[in-house]
């Protein structure tokens, strides 16, 4: 499979010091890639760097075009949906308005309406809460709203920052099940950041492991699962 | 401690120079110097508030007015001696500062700016009101007698007024300097830097902020009282919103967290409008506005900040071994 996203020598950080010290990785077209690592390894930083939300240097290619200098909104327009950590819900706005914001860049009204209906197929609860203020949703519902909002961008690549964070195990399983369907049915490539490595490896076909801003292991999900370091430190067996 | 000692030394030299000027200047320049000291004390009140507490007052002219009118009313209507009015002027402005500051200071920095902005716009109206004109003289204002030198000292009235203003002003600077260096000063700075942490360590946030604002109002009120004594006349229109803005510009030019900077602020307020006025009636506004924006972008710590940096560099050059 060809690479949809490719990063070469990616450095990034918040102040002068780098958090990422030049990492190389690819996300394959149509696949799910997991980005693993401990707290503070630079996982969220990687996603933010891809989207141009922080200072970054190096090469980032999306579908053949260089995007390392593009502004966040430009990268989004080129087909990157990002579910940020903390979910980025517009709490003061309604569920409907949140979803309409997801489709802000699109001009195909009919397509948006159809996609909206498909989102309700994945997440029926959003339809029930359509007119409600997003701030009144539960954590799981907000996560679903955030995923639906990012999908309405009609992204080629979906970035997910800790989708399991702070949610009950049952909800997490439901969400990951839906993500698998989305990957299969929408042909959306996914790059998912997770602390819960076992969960992420179940979903992913490729993975790599970040430690203090460097990639230490990478490979197919099954190979990673066999890796000594990953097993001991992140899978716990 | 060398820092403190050299600061004190510098202050004494400046004071001595200002003192000496009393005996070599003509009455016109003496009046200008008097007003310089007056404005410096008024700006000092803002330094204590903004520099050491991180709060912004856009209505300091109101406290200046309260101090001025306290002195003027007591002198003109009740024949008090000028020196005896100062404590009353100080207390009156501190009290109003406390009352205004108490509700606004519980909230963020912008609320005090908004409230004091309203105060500054409202005060001239209150001073003009007919019901109070028996006390305030209404639109006409009040005229007072000129202060005479005591003990038959061989001084002119203008010299004496300048020396008196300088003496009181020096005392106010000493007071502010002491305040910011003591226990309360440390608490004040803690409030500015990390208000939540300060609160966790047992500093009463609202209490410290309100008291600081009262002190700030008091200092500016004393400046107002001194200006009444020097000008021997008060009228509502001298205390319009533009006065508050002028003091704010003086603060920014001098440096918001610099006590010596207040002196530069005072000099700026006294001399720059005179120069600008010669160009056009509108020029002071443009000059002030441009200076304000320019300082914010290019020199946010004002002349005082520049001075402190130069001093530090000089000291480093003088003692390279350390």
């Amino acid at each position: 499979m060809p690479a949809l996203l490719e990063a070469r020598g990616l450095r990034a950080g918040y102040g002068p010091p780098d958090v990422l010290h030049g990492i190389d990785f690819t996300v394959e077209e149509g696949g799910v890639t997991a980005l693993l690592g401990a707290n503070g390894a630079g996982k969220s930083t990687t996603l933010r760097a891809l989207c141009g939300m922080i200072r970054r240097a190096g090469q980032i290619t999306l579908g053949g075009a260089r995007i390392e200098r593009a502004a966040t909104e430009e990268i989004v327009r080129r087909g990157v949906g990002h579910v940020p950590d903390g979910r980025g819900t517009f709490l003061e706005l309604t569920v409907e308005e949140n979803l309409r914001l997801g489709a802000y860049t699109r001009r195909d009204r009919a397509g948006v309406a159809a996609d909206m209906e498909r989102m309700f197929g994945y997440f029926p609860r959003l339809k029930e809460r359509y007119r409600q203020q997003a701030g009144t949703l539960s954590g799981g519902e907000q996560q679903m709203l955030a995923i639906a909002r990012a999908l309405l961008v009609k992204p080629r690549l979906l970035l997910l920052d800790e989708p399991s964070f702070g949610l009950a195990p049952l909800i997490v399983r439901e969400i990951f099940h839906i993500l698998r369907r989305i990957n299969a049915e929408e042909r959306t490539s996914i790059l998912v950041v997770e602390q819960n490595a076992s969960l992420a490896l179940d979903l992913a076909d490729h993975a790599f492991l970040l430690e203090t801003g460097r990639i230490v292991v990478s490979g197919t999900a099954s190979a990673i699962r066999q890796d000594e370091t990953v097993r001991r430190s992140y899978l716990g067996y | 401690m060398t820092g403190n000692r050299s600061a004190l030394g510098g202050a004494l030299v400046v004071f001595a120079v200002l003192l000496a000027l009393a005996f070599v200047s003509d009455s016109y320049h003496l009046f200008q110097l008097t007003m310089l000291v007056v404005y410096a004390v008024a700006v000092l009140g803002m330094v204590v508030l903004t520099g050491y507490n991180g709060q912004i007052s856009l209505g300091q002219g109101a406290f200046f007015a309260i101090g001025s009118y306290a002195t003027a009313i007591l002198m003109a209507n009740y024949n008090w001696p000028y020196w005896a009015t100062l404590p009353v002027a100080a207390a009156a402005s501190a009290l109003v500062g406390f009352l205004i500051g108490f509700p606004a200071l519980r909230l963020g920095g912008l609320y005090l700016a908004l409230t004091t902005f309203a105060l500054a716009v409202a005060v001239p109206q209150v001073l003009k009101v007919d019901a109070l004109s028996g006390l305030t003289g209404g639109v006409q204002g009040l005229t007072m007698d000129k202060a005479e030198p005591p003990f038959h000292l061989p001084l002119t009235g203008d010299q004496w007024i300048y020396l008196f203003t300088l003496g009181v002003g020096g005392l106010m600077f000493l007071l502010a300097w002491n305040l910011t260096r003591g226990r309360i000063g440390r608490a004040m700075m803690a409030v500015r830097e990390q208000s939540t942490a300060a609160e966790a360590m047992g500093v009463s946030l609202a209490g410290i902020k309100t008291r600081t604002f009262a002190v700030s109002a008091m200092l500016t009120g004393v400046a107002g009282a001194l200006s009444s004594i020097a000008v021997q006349f008060v009228a509502p229109d001298s205390f319009n919103f533009f006065l508050s803005i002028t003091l704010f510009v003086g603060l920014v030019v001098g440096g918001v967290d610099s006590i010596p900077g207040a002196l530069f602020g005072g000099a700026f307020i006294e001399f720059v409008p005179n120069i600008a006025n010669d160009i056009s009636k509108a020029a002071p506004g443009v000059v002030y506005g441009a200076i304000l924006i320019g300082f914010m972008f290019l020199m946010p710590r004002g002349v005082g900040g520049l001075l402190a940096r130069a001093l530090r560099r000089g000291r480093k050059l003088a003692a390279p071994a350390e």
């Binding site: 966040t72 | 716009v121 209150v126 704010f248 002071p284 441009a290 914010m296």
Partner: protein, 290 residues
């Protein structure tokens, strides 16, 4: 009784003006957490431009539209040149910059257009007294026009994608960017819109209070009071607050403190709101970010 009704109706008329300026302030506060102290002076400048156009022979409504459009441009320019560099600076910096802008515009108004008080034509005429003599034609027309403007603004924010994007950019800029929204363009539009609303308010109030460089200073004060009363982060609250302040100002002025002390009413309202309900009528509780 007629007297009281008269006070209330003219309170509503001036309240409409305060509501507009309050809304302009709150729109900018919501998006940037800064208060534009120069909002009133920008409106005064716009009103001078309108008067100049009218004197040059442009019909009233033509001048009105041209001025509102030009003011929109002025707002965008102010955001771009002055606001953007101090976006994340401390409160003192933004206060300093906007007070500076206030001084400059105020002085330039005087320099270019003169300091004398000028009369301003009203587009609303009627030979007959309206509503039994309760309101003047100008009061009625001015209130009606302002209500139309405020309604249009509400419809824009509530029902158009651009309005929604502007709200999103104000509430949560980083999320808005992830939806593909150009947040800095939204901020510019917000400033433009605020300046345009202010211009309309200035032109509507000028026939009543007459035009001079300081025309808006008192009105800005009432607008502050209205914004705080309604809740400084609530646009709807600001509009309601503006109307309430207008009515209170007239009633207090007529029956309690006297017209001489009207401005003090604004101060009293501000202090009372901060003491009793700092969040305002419709605002969220004031939170201090750590």
């Amino acid at each position: 009784m007629i007297g009281l009704l008269h006070q209330i109706s003219s309170g509503i008329a001036s309240g409409a003006i305060y509501a507009s300026v309050s809304l302009a302030l709150v729109m900018i506060y919501q998006a940037t957490h800064h208060v534009n102290f120069a909002q009133g002076e920008m409106a005064t400048l716009s009103t001078f431009v309108a008067l100049t156009l009218i004197h040059a022979g442009v019909p009233f409504w033509g001048a009105f539209v041209i001025t509102v459009v030009l003011s929109f441009g002025l707002g965008v320019a102010v955001e771009r040149v002055l606001m953007r560099p101090v976006m994340n600076a401390p409160v003192l910096t933004s206060v300093g910059v906007f007070i500076g802008l206030l001084l400059i515009i105020n002085a330039l108004d005087g320099w270019i257009f003169g300091f004398t008080i000028k009369s301003f034509p009203s587009p609303f005429h009627s030979a007959h007294p309206l509503l039994g003599g309760l309101v003047s034609p100008h009061e009625l027309g001015e209130t009606g026009l302002t209500v139309v403007v405020l309604t249009l603004v509400w419809l824009f924010f509530r029902f158009t994608p651009l309005g929604l994007a502007m709200r999103a950019a104000a509430h949560n800029p980083s999320s808005a960017r992830l939806c593909g929204i150009n947040v800095s363009r939204m901020l510019g539009l917000g400033w433009g819109l605020a300046a345009a609303i202010g211009a309309a308010a200035g032109i509507m109030v000028a026939p009543v209070v007459f035009l001079d460089p300081n025309m808006m200073s008192g009105i800005l004060l009432y607008a502050f009071a209205g914004a705080l009363l309604g809740g400084i982060d609530s646009p709807l609250g600001a509009v309601i607050g503006g109307f309430v302040v207008g009515v209170l100002e007239n009633i207090f002025g007529a029956y309690i403190v006297g017209t001489e002390l009207k401005l003090t009413v604004a101060l009293i309202i501000i202090v009372a709101v901060l003491l009793v309900k700092p969040a305002g009528l419709l605002g969220r509780a004031v939170q201090v970010r750590v």
